[in-house]
């Protein structure tokens, strides 16, 4: 691995209004790097879903995006409540989001499956009471 470009963000868990700022910024950065649009779209959607999750389920956290020669890696770390049953959380339609989140347009239980679908690999580590760490990768080699 030669040069790895790293972008770091604090994801504010206090207000839903700013959720997604980091993903919008990453999309701009990746465009500046001249990466293919389809790659940019996949990375930014996966990160956006993860960022929204950190805000609505975990009170915020940290995001890091590493752009290497043959892959882009997204790491999301929070110190929220953790996920008790990851397999269940990964199922399309499973959501613990309260009604007020649904009225904001989220909480369909589609985020985690969507993150998996848009990336080439995804690893979730979570401990109840401790927090959650998600690492996703999108390959840059065709």
């Amino acid at each position: 691995m030669s040069d790895v470009l790293t972008f770091r963000f604090d994801v504010d868990g206090e207000n839903f209004t700013s959720a997604g700022q980091a993903s919008v910024q990453i999309k701009k950065n990746l465009r500046q790097l001249g990466l293919p649009p389809e790659i940019i779209r996949r990375v930014s959607i996966a990160m956006y879903e993860g960022e929204i999750n950190m805000v609505i389920h975990a009170g915020g956290g940290n995001a890091e995006v590493r752009v290497a020669e043959d892959f882009i890696e997204i790491e999301l770390v929070d110190h929220g409540p953790g996920i008790a049953d990851i397999e269940q959380a990964m199922q399309a339609g499973f959501s613990t989001a309260p009604d007020n989140i649904r009225s904001l347009g989220f909480g369909a239980g589609m985020g985690l499956p969507n993150m998996k679908r848009y990336t080439d690999s995804m690893d979730i580590q979570s401990k109840v009471g401790d927090g959650t760490r998600i690492v996703m990768r999108v390959d840059l080699t065709a």
């Binding site: 839903f16 209004t17 700013s18 959720a19 997604g20 700022q21 993903s23 919008v24 999309k27 649009p37 779209r41 996949r42 930014s44 959607i45 956006y48 879903e49 929204i52 399309a92 649904r102 904001l104 347009g105 989220f106 909480g107 369909a108 239980g109 589609m110 985020g111 499956p113 969507n114 679908r117 848009y118």
Partner: protein, 120 residues
């Protein structure tokens, strides 16, 4: 279909993005659930929605959409307008309801296809 045609068909007001009204779009989708837009939409360039919060703008930007139509006379906030300007999105507002607005565009040839569930 040109965005200005959408504007005419829906008697919509242009909130921002006047300079892109001549752009062509080929498909659209309508939803109040951003979760579903993120999960099911593929190449639709237009989002019709009754939901008003900054996540609508960010969702559209993530999906590489170029135009959002707010239905039922919903007005975006100044912050949303600023975000849309930054992203180069066109914002329109119509007093029609979601069902009617989608129906008008669909029957005038703006399809909703390319909606695929799992394929990338």
């Amino acid at each position: 279909m040109k965005i200005c045609t959408i504007q005419e068909l829906l008697s919509a007001r242009v909130i921002v993005g006047e300079e892109r009204l001549g752009d062509h779009v080929y498909s659209a989708c309508g939803s109040d659930m951003m979760s579903d837009v993120l999960a099911y939409v593929k190449d639709q360039a237009v989002l019709l929605t009754g939901l008003v919060n900054p996540q609508v703008i960010r969702t559209a930007e993530m999906m590489d959409m170029i135009c959002i139509v707010f239905v039922r006379s919903k007005e975006p906030t100044p912050e949303m307008i600023r975000l849309a300007e930054e992203s180069g999105l066109v914002l329109l507002a119509t007093d029609k309801r979601l069902y009617e607005a989608c129906g008008i565009l669909y029957s005038n040839g703006l399809v909703g296809n390319k909606v695929k569930r799992a394929a990338l």
